[in-house]
């Protein structure tokens, strides 16, 4: 994409997060969308581009009464919304549409109007043939498989994994909308129920209901909206494999590295320029891989970086300041909430606000290290 040409002018989550048994998936999309449109001072009829994942953009456009001239149904897992931002920027620059709405809604917990989720893979797919027969079910038995190799190669301990959850809970404690806010200790995490060794329950993300939406337009038009625009400085995306067993190296994600490098290169920023960071944390090891694969830490150094409180409140690189998927919320495709927190931080309205944040990086994962999307945002471009 052309850097600094497109901005977020509307951003909002669903009115409620957590347990929402009275709303269906499409209803959550619409609630987030209407909130984001109101935030931007727009009506559905002002939108001419629609992107979404998990639902068809056809369904979302029709439900909201939008007749788009551009749609994007890229669905590569929880980072799909990062890819939508990148694709929307290209579409706006190319003149395919002027104002894009990106929506997310998921009834992850209540399963109202939701599909089958994981486990519905055809037995004839490669995953169905070469992974499903060995007992994998959902992300806790797939996303977690690489981590023992990472731990052995880098001397990382179960306590280190637990510390990721402990520090994110500190951030969640500052956020009234977080699902879990009470402080926890490393011992608490290591005493929580075993899910798939070495992963215990408090190292795994929540399963909740919710949604959110973004409105993007050209940087030129963005000046006329109610809120100070949050510019897209750079973006990256990549994919590696639909099967976690076929990752090239279990200690690093190729998709993370390619996506992150592209986003930083486009934005023309250095790591020291980043004031605020979101790394999609479906499980406690994701921030470790993310910090290293995005280049904030050298291989094997992320656990110490977190343990030494660099990413904690008061640290030099505030990370997952909403509490993350581990404590804030996780509907299934969490990337939208990472983007929302980046926008809040650059608008200066986050519950755990990083003072004077100017550059925010939002990094998402899709599938089990299968895909990645990275957005660099700035508020004074």
């Amino acid at each position: 994409m052309k850097p600094r040409t497109v901005a977020v002018v509307g951003a909002a989550e669903t009115t409620r997060l957590g347990k929402i048994p009275d709303m269906s998936v499409i209803g959550l999309h619409a609630d987030g969308a209407l909130n984001a449109l109101a935030d931007a001072g727009l009506k559905p009829g002002d939108i001419d581009g629609v992107a979404t994942a998990g639902e068809s953009p056809v369904a979302v456009a029709h439900y909201l009464g939008i007749t788009p001239t551009w749609v994007d149904g890229t669905s590569v897992g929880g980072c799909s919304f990062m890819l939508h931002v990148r694709h929307a920027a290209a579409a706006i620059n190319e003149g395919l549409c002027k104002t894009v709405l990106i929506t997310h809604g998921e009834s992850g917990r209540s399963r109202v109007g939701a599909g089958g989720g994981f486990g519905g893979r055809p037995g004839s797919s490669l995953m169905g043939q070469f992974e499903m027969p060995f007992g994998v079910t959902s992300p806790p038995t797939m996303f977690t498989i690489p981590v023992l190799r990472y731990m052995k190669n880098h001397g990382v301990t179960e306590e280190d994994l637990a510390m990721v959850a402990v520090i994110q809970r500190e951030w969640a404690g500052m956020n009234p909308r977080a699902s879990y806010r009470d402080p926890i200790t490393v011992d608490d995490v290591l005493a929580s129920p075993m899910i798939a060794w070495p992963f215990r329950m408090l190292m795994c993300c929540l399963v909740t209901d919710g949604g959110g939406a973004l409105v993007l337009t050209s940087a030129e038009r963005a000046r006329d909206f109610p809120h100070k625009p949050v510019h897209v400085l750079g973006a990256g995306e990549s994919v590696e494999t639909p099967m976690v067993s076929q990752m090239e190296d279990f200690t690093t994600s190729k998709a993370f590295r390619v996506s992150g490098w592209k986003a930083f290169e486009e934005a023309g920023i250095a790591h020291a320029d980043v004031d605020h960071l979101m790394i999609y944390d479906a499980f406690a090891h994701l921030p470790l891989y993310g910090l290293e694969d995005l280049g904030f830490c050298k291989p094997g150094e992320a656990a110490a970086f977190i343990r030494e409180r660099n990413t904690a409140p008061g640290g030099k690189l505030p990370l997952n300041t909403n509490g993350g998927g581990l404590s804030y919320m996780h509907s299934g495709m969490y990337g939208m909430y990472a983007l929302q927190e980046s926008v809040r931080q650059l608008r200066g309205i986050a519950p755990a606000q990083v003072p004077g944040a100017r550059i925010a990086v939002s990094h998402g994962v899709g599938g089990m290290f299968g895909a990645a999307g990275t957005i660099v945002f700035g508020n004074d471009a």
Binding site: L126, Q129, M132, I145, G155, S245, F250
Partner: protein, 156 residues
């Protein structure tokens, strides 16, 4: 509940046929010589369609795993390993490690393994077990305990 089983496609039939007759069949490229998995009728390294099927040695080492404490209904009730092994020929595959305790102490990364085929219905699955001639090493490693293993090479 019956075990969830693979449904072969034309591109993978040779692999599953091999499992039934006790052969772990991989493919390799006749142009760049790279062995690969999962099956497909071309080389994922160079794109050549000139590939052949061959019987692998069945030797492997343990690359990574989890011990699932909430088994799927068709996998029984006891915690069990879901592992990825590195085959001697290079490719990696998901499997279960069997014929040993399903504990961190017994399942040491890099331990040598050998393939064993187990029949479920009309299919056979390639599972792996500790290599028969390496019991002493496995026992010694097991006695060290998991925390010591994970902490290996690092300050406490």
């Amino acid at each position: 509940m019956e075990r969830i089983l693979p449904q072969p496609t034309p591109e993978t039939q040779h692999f599953w046929d091999g499992c039934k007759v006790g052969e772990l069949r991989l493919q390799r490229c006749l142009d760049c010589a790279k062995a690969y998995f999962p099956p497909r009728p071309f080389c994922p390294a160079c794109g050549s369609r000139a590939v052949e099927i061959f019987a692998a040695s069945g030797r492997a080492s343990l690359y990574s795993y989890v011990i699932n404490h909430r088994p799927r209904p068709d996998m029984g009730a006891a915690p069990h390993s879901i592992a990825v092994v590195t085959l001697a020929e290079g490719p990696r595959m998901m499997t279960n490690i069997i014929d040993c305790p399903q504990t961190p102490e017994a399942l040491q990364l890099d331990m040598p393994l050998e393939v064993v085929f187990r029949t479920f219905g009309d299919m056979a699955l390639p599972l792996f077990r500790p290599l028969a001639d390496a019991p002493a090493k496995a026992a010694a490693a097991a006695s060290q305990g998991v925390r010591a293993r994970v902490l290996e090479g690092t300050p406490a």
